[in-house]
């Protein structure tokens, strides 16, 4: 595969074509915050935290690094006033739902986000879709999915599938940035197939 040289935060980075900007940055040891990204899953581009500033053909734009393909001579800035502002507001938006999620708390400190900026609606889920996509893409089970669209979007376990598939898996719990996946599962379990609690505690 042909090699592509781009510049990230002032450093030349050489990667193969087809790499995303996020992967290129990771290879160069430059950290970009992500929430909905996972190596085992198709890039999703939902949380928009990984947004960076790119300059190509004389134009500056803001793109999500987890999806944006590298190109020859691309200039990438992983931090700038605008990038930081985008991340700060996104964190503030997410903390209206999950004010205590550890990763959000850590990033909020880094970007100066105020967890109380927006009216709370503690749903705990940030809709990163990791559980949904992991179940579909890695496990091929579709036991948990998105319900509804827009601001009404939620995740939910399909009781019939969950009763069958989730018992011996529960792998998505560890991916969830807020532990909502587990809570949603337990709720489904309690409502749809009560009395079948697992004796031992959840996998770490």
């Amino acid at each position: 595969m042909s090699e592509i040289v781009l510049q990230i935060d002032g450093r030349d980075v050489a990667v193969s074509a087809g790499t995303t900007v996020l992967q290129a940055a990771q290879q160069a040891g430059i950290r970009i915050p992500t929430l909905c990204h996972h190596e085992k899953l198709e890039p999703y581009g939902g949380c928009r935290l990984c947004m960076v500033e790119v300059e190509a053909r004389g134009r500056t734009s803001y793109v999500v690094s987890c999806l944006y393909p590298v190109e020859q001579g691309l200039v990438v800035r992983t931090r700038s006033d605008k990038v930081d502002m985008i991340r700060r507001v996104i964190l503030e938006e997410l903390m209206a739902h999950a004010p205590d999620a550890p990763e959000l708390v850590r990033l909020a400190r880094e970007y100066g986000a105020d967890r109380d900026r927006f009216e709370k609606e503690a749903s705990f889920c940030v809709l990163c879709g990791l559980c949904v996509r992991y179940c579909a893409e890695v496990k091929g089970k579709h036991a948990v999915g998105f319900i509804d669209s827009g601001a009404a979007r939620e995740i939910g376990f399909v009781p019939e599938l969950a009763a069958k598939e989730c018992w011996d898996c529960q792998e998505c719990f560890a991916l969830c940035p807020t532990s909502y996946a587990q809570a949603a599962y337990l709720l489904t379990e309690a409502l749809a197939f009560p009395g079948r609690r697992k004796a031992h505690s959840r996998p770490a």
């Binding site: 581009g45 949380c47 985008i86 507001v89 938006e93 927006f118 601001a151 979007r153």
Partner: protein
């Protein structure tokens, strides 16, 4: 209907249609457009048919039901030709009098347009102010066409531009003509159609597709439907010419699932064009083949967005895709796919027929041709208007629209629906121009123009538009879903008198981030109305926050 094998056969067929028509015989055209239809113009058409039958006038009077005439406010509309005598608010009881007058070569005074100030009457279409200030090169044929009859379109010169393109021009020349005409997309973005066509034409691919975007999801916009339902062949002819220029043999019409009349007319038009050899294999014996499939939206707004629309045609849910690869290069099934709006396609036949120089002579330096505008809101004459680009908004509101009802003052006009913006009355001399209105923060969008009077609460307008979009966001990405959720909460609080310090800063941050960070254009433009409010009506927002709601 005969299958036509050459341009000559097309012209012979057209000559036959014209020869069978007596231009002096009166024709009564009853508008069957959406608004008039809603006022039961079908009963009016039925009454005409009955009266003609009762008096045995079939040989002396023609009758047709047509698409939207434009002046929806005053429907049911009836136009009698020759002379284009306009009757408004026609009821079935009026029919015998209209027939009697028409037979005598007279005009029925009581159904004419009457000037509300002077009481003066207007007889002919070009005397009615609503029409007089327009340039109706796209929609002007509507009152002459029964959309279910290809004959009517052919009688007006239809498909001559297609024959010209196929037999007198190379695909490159057609492309060149569209580029020279500087045609820009009418679906919202104002993107140059010629360069988009060229991208698809030059992109590598086994197959290339051309698509009509007839979704028209913008609330308050109804001109695409008026044009497509009323004159489907015009759009189709444009599409076929575009396919020829781009090198596409397969096209799609993507349109509303909830408009049975539109679907019926487009279906009929496709079948008739195919039967005449204007569509399908070896069009007019030129060797060029092109097939069209009809697809329907799933009733959500975002399905009008290009990548979502193409997902939908592929049979997937219409979720937008990030646009790092353009659909003109990799669209439907990853093949180069050129999407244009209904009105964009409808401009193509006249560009080819009359030439780019003629077309580029209409409009402003960078916005050419005419634009259809749906006039609604606090305006006396609501309806579909067509004006040259560059027309001052004042002409639309006052000369065509008849001004604001009940003598109220104008406060603002809003373009582009939930992804557009509002500008204050003080900017009413701004021209209808893609770039100029974008600069002012009220991009033309698809052409829905909402007129607002002095009583309008601008916080409520932003809240209302956002409320519409909130249910239309797919919810995948954070700045769209959460930006709308939080903005809507803040706006709702303000309108209910619960605004607080810092709300404007919060709205500012939310709309900035939404504009920069969303995945698709729905999200990215969702905060545009709000941005225009903070630009022009900030005082009103501050006032409501300080004063605990709208001062009533």
């Amino acid at each position: 209907m005969p299958r036509l094998h050459s341009a000559v056969e097309l012209e012979e067929f057209r000559a036959g249609i014209l020869a069978a028509r007596d231009p002096a015989r009166p024709c009564i055209a009853v508008c069957g457009g959406a608004a008039c239809g809603g006022l039961d113009s079908a009963a009016v058409a039925g009454a005409f048919a009955a009266e003609i039958g009762r008096q045995g006038l079939e040989a002396r009077l023609d009758l047709k039901t047509t698409g939207c005439h434009g002046f929806c406010e005053k429907g049911p509309n009836v136009v009698v030709s020759p002379g284009d005598v306009c009757y408004f608010e026609v009821r079935p009881e009026d029919v015998p009098d209209v027939v009697a007058c028409t037979l005598r070569g007279e005009v029925l005074d009581r159904l004419l347009w009457t000037c509300p100030d002077t009481g003066r009457k207007a007889v002919h279409m070009d005397e009615v102010p609503f029409y007089r200030h327009q340039t109706r090169i796209l929609i002007g044929d509507n009152p002459r066409i029964d959309p279910t009859r290809i004959d009517d379109y052919l009688a007006l010169g239809g498909y001559a531009a297609l024959a010209k393109a196929l037999f007198e021009m190379s695909p490159e020349q057609v492309l060149d003509e569209v580029k020279k005409a500087q045609l820009r997309g009418r679906g919202g973005g104002g993107f140059p159609a010629g360069s988009k066509w060229e991208t698809t034409r030059n992109a590598p691919g086994d197959e290339k597709y051309v698509i009509v975007n007839g979704h028209e999801g913008e609330p308050g916009a109804f001109m695409d439907r008026a044009l497509f339902t009323g004159n489907p062949h015009k759009v189709l002819e444009g599409l076929i010419i575009g396919a020829y220029a781009i090198g596409s043999h397969r096209g799609f019409v993507y349109t509303r699932h909830d408009s049975p009349q539109l679907i019926r007319h487009v279906r009929t038009a496709l079948a008739q064009a195919e039967e005449c050899g204007l569509l399908g294999e070896d069009i007019l014996g030129s060797g060029f083949g092109f097939h069209v499939e009809l697809h329907f939206d799933v009733g959500i707004f975002v399905s009008g967005e290009s990548s979502a629309l193409m997902r939908s045609i592929e049979g997937h849910p219409p979720e937008p895709r990030p646009k790092y690869i353009r659909t003109s290069v990799a669209g439907i099934r990853d093949q180069p796919s050129n999407l244009n709006n209904v009105e964009t396609w409808a401009n193509v036949p006249q560009i080819i027929g009359r030439g780019a120089a003629w077309y580029a002579g209409i409009g402003t330096e960078r916005s050419k041709g005419t634009k259809l505008v749906s006039l609604s809101g606090n305006v006396v004459n609501g309806g579909v208007a067509e004006v040259p680009m560059g027309t001052p908004l004042r002409t639309l509101v006052y000369d065509i629209g008849g001004g604001v009802p009940s003598g109220k003052a104008l406060k603002a006009v809003h373009f582009g629906g939930p992804m557009g913006g509002s500008i204050p009355a003080s900017l009413l001399d701004a021209p209808l121009d893609f770039d100029e209105l974008s600069r002012l923060g009220a991009p033309i969008g698809a052409g829905g123009m909402l007129v607002m009077d002095e009583d309008t609460d601008m916080v409520e307008v932003a809240r209302y538009l956002l409320d519409f979009l909130t249910t239309e966001s797919c919810g995948k990405c954070v700045p769209c879903r959460e930006g709308m959720r939080q903005s809507l909460k803040i706006l709702t609080n303000i309108t209910q008198g619960r605004g607080k310090d810092g709300d404007l800063g919060r709205l500012d941050d939310l709309s900035t981030v939404t504009g920069l960070a969303c995945l698709c254009a729905l999200g990215r433009t969702s905060a545009d109305p709000l941005k225009s409010m903070l630009r022009y009506f900030k005082d009103e927002y501050e006032g409501q926050i300080a004063g605990g709601g709208a001062a009533k």
